[in-house]
Point group: C2
Chain length 197, copies 2
DNA sequence: TTATTTGTGCATCGAACGCTACACAATTAG
DNA sequence: CTAATTGTGTAGCGTTCGATGCACAAATAA
């Protein structure tokens, strides 16, 4: 139900998706407004009318990205091992899709920021930190059910697997194939029983 | 033995070290010439006279960085396990030093680059790739000596540990303590015997 | 001395940055 | 219809980007 006013002449969702791809591929500061408007097929003014600012557009792009690849869903799987294994495999696959930018947007899109844009860097850092808490909590829960031994350092094991995830983003950007990353995940999962008992 | 011409009024090595710190901390594109001259305490013209261009200065900074933290040295240790363990511990320690930028310059300093600076990104990608080849070769060597079982996928195991190294850079930037990363390394080393037999 | 060479400070270049003022177009509300 | 509201295109804002031209300073060489 559109109110009064001239209707938008482009598909906002499609334009946002395009912007997300660009930010995902190059990072926040490396994508210019000109890059965005060219790829989205709209004028500068339309971008600002629809999205407010470059930073707000980026925040929306990140929200769109994470809506399609949240870590929460994996935590509901019956065992911690299933949580970690399917989460790792899903990421390894997602990072090497031919139809998408490589690696993880949350890990890669704001690593090099000038002082003006620390807020953007911090946004992604907070999202990474939430994953850390989430996965640590999942392991703590597994300790209560007995799946994971009492003496295990849940935070250390969660950090260990997170480190792999972060690293696989760099590797995906470096051209590692889906099979390469799958082999990394296989190796990581081989270690699981020896880390939780 | 200085030739003719006015002598340089600043310490070139110290200035290069300062530039390295800046690039290491913020990344290539996020550091401006103004940032550099301010931190180095020299004028724009002196920077260009001494270093040529921003890209050449960056390349020198990377060379200085890698001269102090090459992976080669670890490969000479008697066993592959020592190579990987001391290499991991050295990195985990180096990424969390209070007197240095966090994380690894080669991993973090050129992840977000606009199309103009792909050469800089590729420079670091090549250095990462050399490490991959070096560590894979070290494991192949260990297979010949019998330390590592024949059936082991050397490339996969090397990639697995490299992924951890890359990930620890992100974690160091996220504020993980030296103890946090040491725990990640402990976890990774716990897995070693189960990955090579 | 004079010629040559190299470094420095100042002023600034053209280009790109994120962003916006303004006039106008296109819609709904009354 | 008119009024109100919102989107679009052009043209350009002020700033910063990496890099330079030029006059001068400070050294060596002859």
């Amino acid at each position: 139900m559109p109110g009064p006013g001239r209707p938008r002449a482009f598909d906002r969702d499609a334009a946002l998706r395009t912007a997300m791809r660009l930010f995902w591929d190059r990072g926040y500061e490396a994508v210019s407004i000109t890059d965005l408007t060219a790829a989205m097929g709209i004028g500068t003014r339309s971008l600002y009318t629809a999205f407010g600012s470059k930073e707000q557009l980026f925040r929306e792009a990140v929200a769109l990205y994470s809506s399609g690849s949240g870590t929460e869903g994996f935590c509901d799987l019956p065992t911690a091992r299933e949580t970690f294994e399917s989460w790792l495999r899903d990421r390894a696959d997602g990072y090497t899709r031919v139809d998408r930018p490589r690696g993880c947007m949350v890990v890669m899109a704001a690593t090099n920021t000038s002082a003006d844009n620390d807020a953007v860097r911090d946004l992604l850092a907070q999202m990474r930190n939430r994953d850390r808490e989430m996965l640590t909590a999942r392991l703590e829960r597994a300790k209560r059910t007995g799946e994971v031994a009492e003496h295990v350092d849940a935070r250390a094991v969660a950090s260990f697997y997170l480190s792999l995830i972060y690293g696989m983003s760099t590797q995906a950007k470096d051209g590692y194939t889906a099979a390469d990353l799958a082999a990394v995940v296989d190796t990581a999962i081989t270690a699981w029983p020896h880390l939780v008992t």
